[in-house]
């Protein structure tokens, strides 16, 4: 219910609302509509033509592949990290909890540089990697590694707060009733965290698809091989092919919108889970 106090001045309210909409329009709506208008300015035919292009298709494939792989690995690592932090006591727990957030505060470009130095041709690891013919930098493994790094906190963060709030008693009850570790996770923990997990997955997907900075350094921009969609957009834009750049942006935009709606839906479920835990 809206508190009465906010209803006192209709004028103030309208001015505030209008200003909010103006800011929202200038910062969000205008750019988004420009993408749509520009991307479709040469007609649907051109739009499709941009994608029929094998270079663009390979960029789309690589983006989807890197996103899928990093989301899967982040789910595994994220659940493991959240489980350790909320279920066990160990030395260095606070350090680990803090470090999980590091990718949020570190610039992605630095991540790119670190990986280039660590796995690139100057690195002492390089001869060893070459022995197994494992090219990391300027190749797909590097892109996936960088994407995992920048998206790591999403799954773990979503889970840790909920799991801390829910506590361990349901798991303890299951253990006392004879359940093994896997049964406890699958029958007791997982149903309690599934919406938070999905929320983490969605956030992770959104970030992974759009990642530019770290991937830009590692990829080497080899068209048709190591270009992701955001990198492809940059290349097209630098080649003064703005319409094609915007056409590809539309695809990223649509994927982002879908994810936004899934996120909204998850958050409602999580609110329910929180209120259950609070009971």
């Amino acid at each position: 219910m809206t508190p009465v106090i906010y209803k006192q001045s209709n004028l103030k309210r309208s001015v505030l609302l209008m200003m909010t909409w103006i800011v929202f329009g200038v910062i969000f709506l205008a750019p988004l509509s420009v993408i749509l208008i520009e991307g479709l300015s040469k007609g649907l035919g051109f739009f499709w033509h941009t994608f029929a292009n094998p270079v663009a298709l390979s960029a789309l494939k690589l983006t989807l592949f890197a996103t899928l792989l990093s989301v899967i690995l982040n789910v595994i690592f994220g659940v493991m990290a959240a489980w350790c932090i909320t279920k066990y006591d160990f030395v260095g727990k606070n350090l680990l909890t803090t470090l999980i957030d590091l990718p949020f505060s570190i610039s992605p470009i630095i991540v790119g540089l670190i990986y280039t130095l660590l796995y690139g041709s100057q690195s002492i690891l390089y001869p060893f990697l070459m022995e197994y013919n494992l090219q990391v930098i300027y190749a797909v493994p590097g892109i996936v590694l960088a994407t995992i790094f920048v998206t790591f906190p999403f799954v773990a963060r979503s889970l840790i707060s909920l799991m801390q709030e829910q506590g361990n008693t349901e798991e303890e009850a299951a253990r006392l009733l004879g359940a093994n570790g896997w049964q406890i996770f699958w029958h007791v923990t997982f149903p309690n965290i599934r919406w938070a997990l999905l929320h983490g997955v969605v956030m992770c997907t959104a970030r992974a698809m759009g990642e530019f900075g770290a991937v830009s350094i590692i990829s080497g921009h080899i068209e048709g091989l190591t270009n992701t969609l955001p990198l492809q957009i940059e290349i097209l834009y630098n080649e003064y092919n703005a319409t094609a750049a915007f056409s590809i942006s539309i695809i990223l935009l649509i994927m982002a919108m879908i994810i936004l709606f899934i996120r909204q839906w998850c958050e409602r479920r999580i609110t329910n889970a929180h209120s259950e835990a609070g009971q």
């Binding site: 349901e170 253990r175 006392l176 093994n180 049964q183 259950e276």
Partner: protein
């Protein structure tokens, strides 16, 4: 199953939360671990269950050392303070959980599991709620589901952590009696933790009084009430009055008193009635003794003669009828 706890110690960091605990629990007994919060009673229960590891000492179930045994081999029926029901499972699924997670070769058939769960549901008088979810149940119903779930695995012992504390007073009394009757029926060795001395006295066969990590006294409710071993036990078991006159010290319960409104008899002390509260079967009277600054609480049957003639501010004479020398 009898339980023997031998020289058990537990440290949390520097805190010595359980100090040299020795306790024998007989087969079929209902034992109460009673003490103020922070006395270590819940830690002791959790160690018996295997949820915590003791720092030193041993626990025997039927003369078999289970200190190192995994929680799953102990077959413990455990009821949590807030029940810890599985929120996303129905009542029936909650109760059958312990049977459904058994290894394949020990697991009963699906129809046997269902039959057993339904039998337990009937026993806890919740047959009509099989398909409800925990959030749709009242506190008392949740508690009975938790108990049925614990009993489903045919536990060797039943451990209950503050089983009644999350319930309101009326439900608490009913369930207390019901649990006591159930215990007589199934004769399962049971240990429950409580900070409520009335609860412990009412249903336990023997009471273990704990304070600051040590056991102060073990005995039947009668033994403990009649012959408290020390000051702590005496004070913990109920309201106490202190009164001293000259060299004489008196310590006594509010009901251990005789009042008279008539003038001095031998052994009676003079006081003023500063508050009178009828509480039903008894009436509580607060007295301010003539030569003492500390008020005394007296509880007398409401049938006491002359009680109706007593008013606030009146002179009254009292005599403690039982001394406890400290």
């Amino acid at each position: 199953m009898n339980i023997r706890i031998k020289e058990l110690n537990k440290y949390f960091n520097q805190f010595h939360v359980l100090q040299n605990i020795n306790l024998d629990i007989r087969k079929g007994e209902l034992i109460a671990l009673l003490g103020p919060s922070g006395c270590g009673k819940t830690s002791l229960l959790r160690i018996i269950a295997g949820l915590e590891q003791p720092s030193s000492g041993q626990i025997f179930f039927n003369d078999q050392d289970i200190s190192k045994k995994d929680i799953r081999e102990r077959r413990i029926g455990y009821m949590f303070q807030h029940f810890a029901l599985f929120q996303h499972m129905t009542v029936l699924e909650n109760i059958s959980f312990g049977l459904r997670v058994k290894p394949k070769k020990e697991r009963p058939s699906a129809s046997n599991i269902l039959a057993k769960a339904e039998h337990l549901l009937e026993m806890v008088q919740l047959g009509n709620l099989a398909n409800r979810y925990p959030e749709e149940l009242s506190g008392g119903q949740k508690q009975r589901v938790a108990l049925a779930r614990a009993l489903a695995i045919d536990p060797s012992v039943l451990l209950l952590d503050e089983p009644f504390s999350a319930l309101d007073t009326k439900v608490r009394r009913e369930l207390r009696q019901w649990l006591s009757n159930l215990h007589h029926e199934i004769q399962l060795t049971s240990v429950f933790v409580t900070h409520d001395q009335e609860e412990a006295m009412e249903i336990a066969d023997r009471v273990v009084i704990m304070n600051k990590g040590v056991i102060e006294q073990i005995g039947s409710p009668k033994e403990i009430l009649d012959t408290p071993k020390n000051d702590f036990v005496y004070h913990f078991l109920g309201e106490t009055n202190h009164f001293s006159v000259g060299e004489q010290n008196f310590t006594f319960r509010p009901h251990e008193i005789i009042l008279s409104i008539h003038t001095e008899k031998i052994g009676y002390f003079e006081a003023e009635a500063i508050d009178i509260r009828p509480l039903g079967a008894v009436t509580k009277i607060v007295l301010k003794p003539k030569d003492s600054d500390y008020p005394i609480e007296a509880q007398v049957p409401n049938t006491t003669r002359d009680l109706n003639n007593l008013n606030k501010g009146d002179k009254v004479y009292f005599r403690p009828i039982m001394d406890f020398e400290i």
